[in-house]
Symmetry: C6
Subunit: 70 residues, 6 copies
């Protein structure tokens, strides 16, 4: 695994927590889309968001504006 | 092959599965375009999507907002 | 930590100051969103902005247009 | 030449084929522009598209949404 | 400092001159914003623009469309 | 100089030719702006375009949609 994905970084660790807790999140994309759901997995390039209709959205991190959670 | 394309990463492996199964996917691009079809191949830079009119769309990964599948 | 995150760089050091002082900032994103709040943490990839409704926005640095402060 | 430009990758090889065959292509850019023509050359950063008015468009690959061909 | 920030490159040297001379500049961002002011500092990732209302805008270089000066 | 700026690459060499010949070009940016003028210099990060009003536009290459010339 590359250094950029070291789990010691807060940005990676927070997403791991969101996956573990199956927490509801919102993802705002560069395309303008706002998606709601919970995160199934992440890797250095992508996160996978399952939305309420059970479809999966593989999202490249460079396309994310922000990831919102409470 | 570069480390980023290691097939052990879920983002790469999922696309390999979609190719193998010729599964229907939707691709939302940064341009706002939403394309439907199935993926013919991937490499570290691109995926190639064949749409229903049989034309091929070579899509750079950095231009993808999300890749949706069931 | 990678060289790009060296705290000697003004861009990193300024954000550290904003975190320490819990200073009000505005973040304009590539998506067009303008978010107001204070920064909780940064790492090489992201900053985390807490907005007035106490929700957290994990923002990838490549999605930032500008970070405004007085 | 860098590894990313290795001609063994389908994304590079396909473009080489399009150049050799002077095949008609469409390029959709992140700017929203849709250009039609044939590709004169590629290198790791750019492709050069000659449009029907004989002008040349040097296009950075990171600005491409998709490259469409039959 | 990384090679990309070598002061021998015109793009870096020009900005150093603009800082030294406190020259008026315009910055057009990918967000569509057009900001006017003078540059306080640069590093490999960012420039900091002070606008006429004395607020500071930390701008990531990848978000800049162009930097205009006379 | 980094390998990516090797003058053997057509994308770099073409721009060198445009500079030498002071040739008229159009640059379409990701911001939607279309600028006309001639190129004064390039380095690995930027090109500098002088427009007809004699102002200079320092343009980051990642912000270019296409560079058009005859």
């Amino acid at each position: 695994m590359s250094q950029e994905f070291a789990t010691g970084f807060p940005s990676v660790r927070q997403i791991q927590n969101l996956i573990r807790d199956q927490q509801a999140v919102e993802v705002k994309l560069m395309t303008g889309d706002l998606l709601s759901g919970h995160i199934l997995w992440q890797d250095p390039q992508c996160i996978c968001l399952q939305t309420e209709d059970q479809s999966k959205h593989q999202i490249w991190k460079q396309a994310i504006g922000f990831l919102k959670y409470s």
